[in-house]
Structure formats: structure tokens, C-alpha cells
Amino acid sequence: MCVGVPAKVILKKEYSAVVDVMGSQTTVGIIFVPEVELGDFVIVHAGQAMSIVDESYARQSVEEWRRLIDARNSEAVK
């Protein structure tokens, strides 16, 4: 019962994968994300990968945050 943790797939087996979480490794189930590939980041919940992180969307989110900040800064400048 914890929020998902992003983990990088470094070894893929049939139903499980070894993932790296900031330098520590553990094995997670990948039954729910059969399409996962080596190098992908997955969201792990209670030992199972639930979703594959979409890098471009992740990047978009960060850009959006920056835009919000910049907008405010430029507003502040105004």
C-alpha cells in the first residue's frame, strides 16, 4: 500500500524482471505489462509493474511545470 516507485528494467524474464531502483535491485512481476522492454521504467506497486512510464509524457509534464513557473515569473516581472 504505497505509491508506485519508478524502476528501470535491467533484465527481463518471462513473467518477471529485475529492476533497478536508484542503484538497488529487486525482482518484480511483469504480467501486467507484457510489452515492457529492457531499459523501460515501470511503476512498481506491491511487487508488480503496473504501468510503463512514457518518457515523452514525463518530459512534457516537467516542461509544463517550468512553463507554469516561467509564466508566473514573467508575470511577476510585469
Partner: protein, 370 residues
């Protein structure tokens, strides 16, 4: 990619983001003469908002109300008592998530039973329960299946595993909950005035963005799918205020990197295979029809409720106000027991002990002094 993901807790992003949220909240206030009010549906959101400080930083400008999203907290007392009674049986191994251990039953807790010698095991990875069953063929191994949409799929995996390995001494005591029925209940009851919902990122992995459309179509209320890191929380709240300001109800996916439009279809297949809707009793609410999932009858052999009977009496009455906390009617510190008779070492209600409980979140992460 780790660099990108890390940005969500980068203070150089988070601090100005928080200021941006405050600014737009003030704009809302100027326009409507009150703070915008949102309910975080999910207990993990409650915890994250408290732990990261987002709730405190925004406390004067945004009204963040905790909803019925802690699976342990919403489980009604009779059900809690039943699970504790279950553990009293001979020759059983009870496997559970850690935060069930200290949840107060009417007479005792699972931890009390463990201390008294019952074999009760906290698992970090629930699927291990099947292995426990395999390794202890002369014991009945029962997993306490408490959870929302994020956890339920994992329960089906366990059944699948037990089925495949033909393990006869494994079962799950199912007491699961679904988000949609309880949101409908709250909206139908009209007890809380909200400008929108913060919708949980991980539940949404399963459900998908489109599944929330009923909020807009039937209740004309917005929902923003939100992650759990500081910047994700802040931007989710920002978007919620933006929507509220716009006057338009909409579902917004603020966590697109992991949440898709239609959810995880593989998981849907697993759920469809093993589970069927059932009525569930909610703490402080009562039975909500079709608000949970139970095993289909063809899997009765894995259904602990079919295999074991437990006797529970009338639940003990306490002054705990978890029911109201869950429905968002009062904040934890409005409960007169909060921090006095009730604290994490000696919790009176489940909200003070679950890792996602509102009272626990408040006690652990939101007190600035005492």
C-alpha cells in the same frame, strides 16, 4: 530518464510551483470569495500531501479534504473484527499488508494475536503468500485481501498462481473497495462542497482517464488525475483550480506518463476472469451496492469467506470519528481524541494507524508543534 523523473521533487521546481498554486488560489478567492476546495480521493494522496508539506504550504489558500480512499480505514468494523477472529483459528497462517497489524478490532488487534503466538506474517510482496502456502502444506494460509483498484489486480495474480500450482491450502479473505461507487455516494449525499477531485494516479493506471467521465456527465464536477511527488501534486492542484476558475467541468490527466486513456487492459482481463461485483459495507457509510469485488463462484476454493466461518459479535462502540473523517466531514484534528487518547502507538480508529489514514497522516506529518 531518471533525471526527468527526479524533477518532480526538485525544490527549484517545487517551491516556485507552490507559489504559482497559491497565486491562482488567491485569484479563485478573489473571484468567489472563498478558498477552492478539492478532495483527494486516495489515502496515498493524503499521505503524500502531508509528507511533502504541500498541504501545509497551501493551508491558507486551498482547502484540501481527505476522502474515503484509505482501504483499511473504510473497511467496516465488523469486517475488521472478522479478520482478527479469523486469525484466532488453529493451524492457520495469516498473511497481510503491514498496516493491518495495529488496526483496532473491537477486542484486540492482529498484533495482539501475533504477540500471543498466532502465526501472522507481514509480507512486502503479497504474491509471497502463495509460496508460504506451498511451504506449509499442513496449514491454511489466508491472505487478508484489503484494497482498492490498485491492489485488487495483485489479488487476482495470487489466485492465478495458486490455481496454476494447484495449491489447495491458500485462500483470500476478500474485502475490497471500488472508487466509483463511493464517489457517487458522496456526491449523491451532497455532504461536502467540492470544486473537484484529485484523482489517484495509481488507481488511474488501472481505470484509465475515460473511466471518470461520469463525474462530468452526471455530476458536472471536475477531476484531475494526479501523481504523488511534490511537483505532480502541486501541478494537479493548479490544474484543478484552473478548471474551477474556468467554470467548466472536465477530467484532466495530469499524470499522462503512466496513466492512459483506457487504463491497463491486461489488468482488466485479469479482473474480469476472476472477479465479480459485490456489495460492500463501508465504515461510517454502510453497505454500498456493488462497491467491491469478490471472487467468482467458480473460485470458491480460494475464497476464505467460503472456506471459514468466523463468529463476530456486535462491534464495540468507540468515540472514534473515522466515519466522518473518511467522508471528508471533519479534519482529523477536529476529533476530540486526536493526539490525546488516540495516537499511532495506541490508535482508537484505523485512520490513525493505516499508512494511508488521514489521522495518521495528520499526526505524523502535519503537526508543527504540540
Amino acid at each position: 530518464m531518471l533525471e526527468i523523473l527526479k524533477q518532480s521533487s526538485n525544490p527549484e521546481i517545487c517551491r516556485p510551483l507552490a507559489e504559482a498554486v497559491i497565486e491562482i488560489a488567491l485569484e479563485f478567492n478573489r473571484k468567489f470569495g472563498r478558498k477552492p476546495a478539492f478532495m483527494e480521493v486516495c489515502g496515498s494522496h493524503t499521505m503524500s500531501l502531508a509528507r511533502t508539506g504541500v498541504k501545509q504550504v497551501l493551508k491558507n489558500e486551498v482547502n484540501l479534504i481527505s476522502g474515503p480512499g484509505c482501504p483499511v480505514c473504510v473497511t467496516d468494523q465488523r469486517s475488521i473484527d472478522a479478520m482478527i477472529a479469523l486469525a484466532e483459528g488453529e493451524n492457520r497462517i495469516i498473511c497481510t499488508f503491514g498496516d493491518m497489524m495495529r488496526v483496532p478490532g473491537s477486542a484486540k488487534t492482529l498484533l495482539d494475536s501475533k504477540i500471543a503466538g498466532k502465526d501472522i506474517r507481514v509480507l512486502y510482496s503479497p504474491v509471497d503468500a502463495v509460496r508460504v502456502a506451498e511451504e506449509n502444506p499442513d496449514k491454511e494460509v489466508i491472505f487478508l485481501g484489503v484494497g482498492f483498484e490498485t491492489t485488487i489486480p495483485i489479488l487476482t495474480l495470487m489466485i492465478g498462481e495458486a490455481e496454476k500450482r494447484m495449491i489447495g491450502n491458500f485462500s483470500i479473505w476478500m474485502t475490497t473497495k471500488l472508487v466509483e461507487p463511493v464517489l457517487r455516494f458522496l456526491l449523491d449525499a451532497g455532504e461536502v462542497n467540492l470544486d473537484g477531485f484529485l484523482l489517484p494516479g495509481h488507481v488511474s493506471i488501472v481505470l484509465g482517464e475515460e473511466s471518470y467521465q461520469y463525474l462530468v456527465d452526471e455530476y458536472q464536477i471536475s477531476g484531475v488525475i494526479t501523481g504523488f511527488e511534490t511537483a505532480e501534486l502541486l501541478s494537479g492542484i493548479y490544474k484543478s483550480i484552473e478548471l474551477a476558475l474556468s467554470g467548466q467541468a472536465a477530467i484532466s490527466n495530469n499524470h499522462p506518463a503512466i496513466v492512459s486513456k483506457t487504463g491497463n487492459q491486461v489488468i482488466h482481463q485479469w479482473l474480469d476472469k476472476y472477479l465479480t461485483n459485490c456489495d460492500e459495507a463501508w465504515r461510517g457509510i454502510g453497505v454500498i451496492p456493488n462497491s467491491g469485488l469478490d471472487l467468482k463462484p467458480e473460485y470458491d476454493q480460494f475464497n476464505a469467506k467460503k472456506r471459514f466461518t468466523v463468529d463476530v459479535g456486535e462491534p464495540r462502540k468507540t468515540k472514534c470519528r473515522c466515519g466522518e473523517v473518511i467522508r471528508g466531514l471533519i479534519a482529523p484534528n477536529e476529533c476530540p481524541l486526536f493526539g490525546k487518547a488516540c495516537h499511532p502507538i495506541n490508535p482508537v480508529g484505523p485512520c490513525m494507524v493505516s499508512a494511508e489514514g488521514s489521522c495518521a497522516a495528520y499526526y505524523q506529518y502535519m503537526r508543527e508543534s504540540f
